[in-house]
């Protein structure tokens, strides 16, 4: 089965992700898949939250922090500026405090807490995944292609989401207990019940957001996660390890795409010894890939003679990946 068959067979899988170590071709595959689907008449958004995002480079357009930019009819690209998002979010909290209490200025200890928060671990991951939820809930597109930050981030977030979840359970229970006390006190003092608990509502909101963001990565119906690897022993070992970790967090693996495969026919030509050696070691690695991942390998993409950059080469890559001529 090839990549094109997978897309045809599972039309509900609208969240597409390419994962793998850095530099293996996640962004190029994301762009080429977006190109292919757009040419098939689907509305596609390819987006990245990586601060060193390369969608701008590959599409040869500066799209960083500019929202959804139309690249071709049906094909949109977006690079989220995570730092700016954090800054805006902090400002929103400040404004809320000011308007809630009619303050002229945020008290110093509160202000320093807000400022310090941006330096804390996991702030960025949370902001990123929250941004992803924002993008996806708008629902304007048939496909969302998520150019992932390197694997570690995603796994870290998924494990964090489950801890968050347990934590939220606990404090929501505490909050409910507090609410009961409020009611009891009000009854004893024959007062009217106090107004709704805003914090409880916020907790419910947070729970919903975290649920939504981890669901985007773990929804069996809607998500397809593809691993990108190259025919090298170390990469294969890493991919296998990551595959197991992802399975543990219920990320639905759709298959593997092998990148940078050298053409064996070259051996018949007059080529330097080092290239011959490379081809031989690749053959061994490819046999290993076959044995380990077998039918889950959906495409083998050859090494291109130039960098994938600009729509013309993206089209060429898409044609190879999906084994189809595109206009």
């Amino acid at each position: 089965m090839g990549l094109a068959d997978i897309f045809e067979k599972y039309p509900n899988r609208q969240y597409i992700m390419f994962g793998g170590k850095g530099g293996l071709g996640k962004t190029t595959f994301s762009a080429a898949t977006a190109y292919y689907l757009a040419k098939k008449g689907k509305r596609v958004l390819v987006f990245s939250v990586d601060p060193q995002a390369s969608l701008s480079d590959i599409f040869e357009r500066d799209i960083f922090g500019k929202g959804n930019v139309e690249i071709l009819p049906n094909l949109y690209a977006c690079e989220v500026d995570a730092d700016k998002r954090i800054r805006d979010y902090q400002e929103e909290i400040r404004q809320k405090i000011i308007s809630m209490y009619g303050m002229k200025k945020i008290p110093e200890e509160i202000e320093s807490y807000i400022r310090a928060s941006s330096a804390e671990p996991a702030m960025e991951e949370s902001a990123i995944f929250d941004a992803v939820v924002d993008i996806v809930v708008q629902g304007d597109f048939d496909y969302y292609i998520y150019d992932l930050v390197p694997l570690g981030h995603a796994l870290y977030y998924l494990s964090m989401a489950s801890i968050y979840d347990a934590w939220l359970e606990k404090i929501t229970a505490l909050r409910e207990k507090m609410r009961e006390y409020d009611k009891a006190i009000a009854t004893m003092r024959r007062e009217e019940e106090s107004e709704e608990d805003q914090i409880y509502n916020e907790l419910m909101y947070i729970k919903e957001r975290i649920g939504a963001s981890s669901k985007i990565m773990t929804d069996r119906e809607k998500t397809a996660f593809f691993f990108v690897l190259t025919p090298e022993e170390m990469i294969i070992a890493d991919t296998e390890k990551a595959g197991k970790l992802f399975a543990k967090y219920n990320v639905p693996l759709a298959g593997y795409v092998v990148n940078r495969v050298l053409d064996r026919d070259l051996l018949n030509q007059n080529i330097p010894q080092y290239l011959k050696n490379r081809i031989e070691t690749q053959s061994e690695a490819l046999a290993m890939i076959e044995q380990k991942f077998g039918a889950s390998v959906l495409a083998k993409v050859p090494e291109f003679d130039s960098e994938i950059k600009g729509l013309e080469t993206i089209r060429e890559l898409a044609e190879v990946m999906f084994e189809e001529k595109l206009s």
Binding site: I110, S126, I185, R189
Partner: protein, 96 residues
């Protein structure tokens, strides 16, 4: 004061002999209980702030992205909370 608040106040404090009797029985029977409940409630409030805003005291408990959402709602309690947490020799004692 608008009409609604007036109404509320009226309900809260009925005057005359009935009001007096009501306050009297409240004082005799339930005031202690209410006081105790209020105290427990405020301990819980402080526990809640501790587990959401702990890093203000150098106790990182939760990644701050979502706890920032809760911050505006606890601003008025922060000062008393800090005072209380830091007054105790062992702040864990103060939770219970």
């Amino acid at each position: 004061m608008n009409e609604k608040d007036k109404e509320k106040n009226k309900k809260k404090k009925p005057g005359g002999i009935i009001g007096f009797l009501r306050d009297f029985t409240y004082g005799m029977a339930t005031h202690g209980m209410a006081r105790h409940a209020l105290k427990t409630r405020s301990s819980m409030e402080h526990l809640f702030i501790l587990i959401t805003m702990g890093d203000m005291l150098g106790i990182p408990i939760l990644p701050p992205y979502y706890s920032l959402r809760l911050l505006p709602h606890v601003v008025p309690q922060i000062t008393t909370w800090k005072r209380r947490m830091l007054r105790e020799k062992d702040f864990v004692d103060s939770m219970y």
